[in-house]
Symmetry: C2
Subunit: 255 residues, 2 copies
Amino acid sequence: MKSYQGFLIDLDGTVYKGTEKIDEAITFVKELEKRKLPYLFLTNNSTKHPRDVAEKLKEMDVPATTEQVFTTSMATATYISELKPGARVYAIGEEGLHFALEEQGLEIVTEDVDFVVMGLDRDITYEKLAIGALEIRKGATFVATNGDVALPSERGFLPGAGSLISVLSVTTGVEPKFIGKPEAIIVEQALEVLGTSKDETVMIGDNYDTDILAGINAGIDSLLVHSGVTKKEDLAKIEIQPTHTMESLAEWTLE
Amino acid sequence: MKSYQGFLIDLDGTVYKGTEKIDEAITFVKELEKRKLPYLFLTNNSTKHPRDVAEKLKEMDVPATTEQVFTTSMATATYISELKPGARVYAIGEEGLHFALEEQGLEIVTEDVDFVVMGLDRDITYEKLAIGALEIRKGATFVATNGDVALPSERGFLPGAGSLISVLSVTTGVEPKFIGKPEAIIVEQALEVLGTSKDETVMIGDNYDTDILAGINAGIDSLLVHSGVTKKEDLAKIEIQPTHTMESLAEWTLE
């Protein structure tokens, strides 16, 4: 197998499933660390602070620092900051989104806003949606962290960011700019953070529709691991295949 | 003009605009009352108790009793009750919806539900949406009071029932059965209440996409009055025209 110099790695379904470790993936990450091969965890979870994501990984014995976590909230904040440094942003989301926006020096406000940015918000209220809709109608640019419509949980599939975001797109008729996987934008930003080039980096994940399509859309190699969402039979119907497909990351021999 | 024996009359944009009366409409309703011609106010507002709607009308000097108000919540409750009397219903909505469901003898519950019914709910929470999504995925029938995506207010257009409802349809992939205008179902139920036949009844409203299409879909005559949403120039682009079109209801001479 090609000897990649950079690794973008999805989390849920790839490194763990909920609270359960995926041992082969953890062994693989440890091997990357041992060989000093750069890797970055790339997640569409917009709600968490990267420090807390790293903490969870460390508790699972996965070598991870806060700097090795890149969330879609961080990608979203970077995207807005590049368009308009110090922009006025109305944010509907959780701690991870607010942290990322503030870290990029963006102003979190409720009026005269340049951007309405929305992610998963389990404290959603009608008033938040009302302000978002009014500001988009007044001309604010609408940006969304990710389009995942369902959120796996122990209770079953709960509403994901994409379904909450549809309130604003349906009521205003304005589609948001999506940032998270499968968009190329989050992968391109992750490569900047990782410091590797497109042709030497691979995107690893369990979900064809987000992880693998993100790799394909960004023009980098991809590896689908059948430890989560996408099954062998799902892949059979798909035209553009991942670069590599494996049952588990134990199959991958680093050279 | 044809001498109709029954009148279905929209409220906002037709009889009043927000808190402002439309005098020609009020004079028209008073004339109906004087002549003992049956009329029913037909509204896609699912949130209010019909008693409060009648109260508001009376304060505006419009002759109206609670029995002359038919809301989409009442139509929705009737629809469910006809499908399954005493059904177990999980309801996401305001006072008007809960009242209507209880009046029809339906059981409002949060588990083992037969129907998930949703209308505008300005106290929406993630937990309500989560329960709705889980129950629809488990097989509950999904019913929605109305599909209006925007709600006019003094602040501008706020999210309407249809945009909130999209959270559940997007996350589950299940489209709800809509009951309110422009669906025929609410008009057919209103005719039952009014006690007049299709060929002697007219639907009066200001909104082509809801009021007039409801009349057309139900196969009854319609009258568009240009006191609200639909302007003359909007109508020019439309193929199926209302039976009658007027600047105000002052143009209508009852025989």
